[in-house]
Amino acid sequence: MDSLPEDLVALVGDPASTKAIAAMGPDGAPSVAVRDTLAVLDGGTLAFAEELDTSPTSRALVHTIWFGGAVAVSVRRGDRAFHLRARPWRCALVGPLFTRFLLEARARLGGDADIAAVWVLKVDEVRDDSPATLRALDEARRPHAGRHLDRASVVRSDEVADPPAVAQVPVRRYLARSS
């Protein structure tokens, strides 16, 4: 992508948003990690710092850049969210981008803070992942099919029984039986 939506750029830049990277490791197992350092570079490019070469995320990114595939990025704050599909494009161990992220880490965490690399991701696809957007899409695609019939917006209010208290639902017993 040549550029990212402005509201996505703003959300990535919001220190209060949650940013997570998911990738497939060399053993085929997925790993997901929150990366607060995720930032938008120019065009359709993101970057974030990895503290260790040996982290599951680092290994998954190396595996992906070596053997192909995509990573997923989730950015969310409150009811605003995006889901991105991206490719690991560069692993920077040296240079201005690396130095910028390292200095940011040290400004935040002190002089002993360290990073191993800055990973650059090229974004191929952006999806609005906000719950309201997904709900609207779902309802447009399959009207009536995605709702429980006892929902307040569906059932006549005089037919609704008082719901049980959450604490009364025997989840623990159910989990014990199923395990």
Partner: protein
Amino acid sequence: MVTSNALGPLALAARYPRVPRFVLLKMDIQRRGLALTPAALDAVQAPEWDYGRSYVIYGQGSAARKNAPGPLLLRDGTSVMVLAGADYADGYTVDLRDGAFVLLDGDDAIDEVEFTPRPDYYGKRTSRGVPMETVATARPQRLDINPYRHCHFWEGGNQCRYCAYFTDVKATSALADGHVARKVDPEDVYETVREALKEPGRFSQVMLTSGADPSGTQVFDDEVERQIEALQAIGRNFRGRRFASQLIGCAYDKHQLRRLHDETGLATFCPDIEVWDPKLFDWICPGKAKWPGRDGWIQSALDAVEVFGPGNVYTNAVAGVELCKPHGFATEDEALASHFEACEFFAKRGVVYLSLVWIPWRGSQLHGQAQPSLEFYARLVLGLHDIRKAHGLRAHNDDYRHCGNHGDSDLERLD
């Protein structure tokens, strides 16, 4: 140079799905070499890329003409140690296109690449007026220091047959206004490292290597003394006793190893075996065969494990040179078997055996000989990686981050 390009990186990546294209590409660039187009060469004269005159002394005449860039960087973060513009007949090319460096194989664009940015200490001088880049050269994350730039094995023709090290001392010394002396002053080493460490996050290891010098009361005593001086000078920059470091040295005895361990902050030691087969070792490395002989080189590595601990001792093989004519192995299979035997032998004893791509440098006795196929290197790095992994060994201090010369340790990034 003569290379066989029967199968290139892409075809081999399909045949050996555990060897990534980046590692194959790196080894093929090392094997076949690299040239810069005029546009790329002009671009690397810019301050951010300009590594200055080449003070890396490999006998390639690289110190002439325009300034050189630093090590090539692939997108996966690995570096490629190759001298751009050296004597390659069928090498890769780097061009500048739309403001980015692009690697070409013939007319085919292979990938975006970068060069290692120039470190901040380049261009500065020590208090004795010595250009700091003549004291230490920079890889992406490693400082390389040659405390002594003369190999005495060259005296009497005892140098390793593949070696072109230090053959350009006069030319590079002239470029550095005469500042490339045989022996580097330890104070210049101290000041250069101190200055280099001012650049945030730029270095995570210091590597020392010198020309071999068998002189002294015991063989290599004088060399060890110089290494200790340099390591102590470096160590003054750090709070703790040990610092991330590697010494590529000669076959020191246990007393010398103990001194290096006890009197300096050295973390890892690497006496390079170069060639495993006994007859080929004697033929290809006559100096090493004489001082103190193949058994002595092996014993030094094993003694070093006692001193530095398992996994903190390395030894390198110049992979492919064992196939050189007229006495080398006849087939790549025989050469591979020899490497795997060596790796198994050392791994059982806590020594990390790594491979380097053999480059028949101009200035070496083997210049002009044919190199093995890229497939040989693909099979080699897989085999070496698997043997070491089976023995629980990792090349932490000689990995993609610190060295960039070993396809087999690159594979450990997934382990």
